[in-house]
């Protein structure tokens, strides 16, 4: 309820500011929503949203699955961690733009280059979070699994995954927002559709209305993903805790 009120307040502030501003620099909510409706009618809105969403999904899944596997391996094996930690630090500090431009230069202005570049930007982040999770795995439960000779699949599903799921949720939450921001940049530089491409068009035409007409629906879409996918997942995996954020691992 408070959330809704907070959003309404933001909308009112926007409307208030728009009254005093040059409508070319800051159009009010009404003309922006009209622009959204217009773009939706022509179908361009959905085509571009879908293109961007597909890129977000592809690069996010790529980064998360690779990041989870590498982070887990590095968290479990100190030798591997020492070997690859410097790479991780380099990757963490490599500016997103450098990765994107290099990817386009080396692989051409292709879809694979775009998705790969975004995934590579998210990857070190996912590795760091999942490595933390793997380091925090309870050795006592590992011993239990050892004595009871649980199969590898059962260990993964019942022992490792539940302990890693809070880390997975944290990486997902920070990852989704990071990924979609970078996706817009790759689209702006080297793609001919998607929200980033449309924003580039709006920039060229100095059309703030069009810019907001694409930005707002996508923000809402990601808000929906967070509310209807990430949060329910978190609630589901932490239902065994009587209170959230309590020390884990011990009964």
């Amino acid at each position: 309820m408070i959330r809704l009120l907070s959003l309404m307040l933001l909308l009112a502030l926007w409307q208030g500011a728009a009254v005093f501003a040059d409508p070319r620099r800051l159009p009010g909510p009404v003309p922006v929503f009209e622009a959204i409706a217009h773009e939706a009618e022509t179908g361009a809105l959905f085509a571009n949203l879908a293109a961007t969403l597909a890129r977000v999904a592809a690069s996010f899944l790529l980064a998360m699955s690779l990041g989870a596997a590498l982070g887990y391996a590095m968290g479990r094996r100190p030798a591997l961690d020492r070997l690859f930690d410097p790479w991780l630090v380099i990757l963490l500090n490599l500016p997103a733009l450098v990765v994107i431009v290099l990817a386009y230069l080396w692989a051409g202005l292709t879809e694979a280059a775009a998705i790969g570049a975004v995934a590579l930007n998210k990857l070190p982040n996912a590795i760091v979070v999942m490595r933390e999770g793997a380091r925090a795995l309870d050795p006592e439960l590992d011993e239990m699994a050892e004595v009871f000779r649980l199969r590898p699949a059962a260990r993964l599903r019942h022992i490792v995954a539940p302990q890693l799921s809070p880390y997975l949720a944290a990486a997902t939450r920070s990852g989704l927002s990071l990924v979609w921001k970078i996706v817009l940049v790759v689209e702006l530089i080297g793609r001919s559709n998607g929200v980033g491409f449309e924003i580039n068009m709006a920039f060229q035409l100095f059309d703030v209305r069009l810019l907001l007409a694409y930005a707002i629906p996508f923000v809402l879409l990601m808000l929906g993903v967070e509310t209807f996918l990430v949060q329910p997942f978190e609630r589901h995996v932490s239902r065994w805790r009587r209170r959230p954020a309590r020390g884990q691992g011990r009964a």
Binding site: E140, M144, E146, V147, F148, R149, W240, R241, A251
Partner: protein
């Protein structure tokens, strides 16, 4: 760890086992520790706190391979272990904890097991919702669910109040008599060992070895206070002798 299919007994021969101490100098925990336990019998390892009982149990369970010696598990070699802390999976319900440990056990067998430990009403609870006494019972039920060839219990009554400990002791005694599972209990409590086991192995202070073996002729069910007292006195003498040596 070698497994001799023919010999249906637990045989432990540890020549020595060292711990690396904080200063880097190895400390001898176990030395020339040998004992064997016939199939279907219950043995108890009794020793003062810190004498290396848990270390020994971890060696037998195969969790610690850094020792010189040999452990032969009973034929089949399936281990059911009850750790000092219950070590249940907090994110799985009680019944799921049993299912995961014993994927081949039938639902009927698991329900019967829960019923035997009066845990039926807690089947769908998460371990975090249980008291320590209940969680221990679940841990024991889990160890039994895999139909072990050897049941290992590490201080199963520690941090339970007297009434709960007595109740659990009676359950375990009944269980050993009914299922004839080869059982090894580690405890610091001599009386507890006498009341539960067929054979009591008294461990010496560090480096631990089996200083004396006490065979208990009286069956668990007909153990009287007097008989237990007599055995305890005998055992205390042995322990004194060990210290004097």
């Amino acid at each position: 760890m070698s497994r001799d299919g023919a010999a249906a007994l637990l045989e432990v021969r540890v020549a020595h086992k060292d711990h690396a101490s904080a200063g880097g100098r190895p400390q001898r925990v176990l030395e020339n520790l040998c004992f064997s336990l016939p199939a279907g019998r219950a043995g108890a390892l009794v020793g003062p706190s810190g004498c290396g009982k848990t270390t020994l149990l971890r060696i037998i369970a195969g969790l610690d391979a850094a020792f010189s010696g040999e452990v032969t598990l009973p034929a089949g070699g399936r281990l059911g272990m009850v750790f000092q802390e219950p070590r249940l999976l907090p994110w799985r319900s009680v019944i799921d904890n049993l299912r995961i440990a014993a994927p081949r056990a039938s639902e009927a067998a698991l329900s019967a097991l829960l019923a035997a430990f009066e845990l039926s009403e807690h089947a769908l609870h998460f371990p975090g919702e249980l008291s320590l006494g209940l969680a221990r019972r679940v841990a024991i039920a889990r160890a039994l669910a895999i139909e072990p060839d050897l049941l290992l219990l590490d201080e199963p009554f520690v941090s339970l109040d007297d009434a709960l400990a007595r109740d659990l002791r009676a359950r375990i005694a009944a269980l050993i008599d009914e299922s004839h599972v080869t059982t090894l209990i580690v405890t610091h409590d001599l009386r507890e060992a006498i009341e539960l086991a067929d054979v009591v192995f008294l461990l010496s202070p560090r480096p631990a070895r089996v200083g004396a073996t006490l065979t208990i002729e009286t069956p668990r069910r007909s153990m009287t206070k007097e008989a237990a007292d007599a055995l305890e006195t005998r055992a205390r003498k042995e322990i004194e002798a060990m210290r004097g040596r």
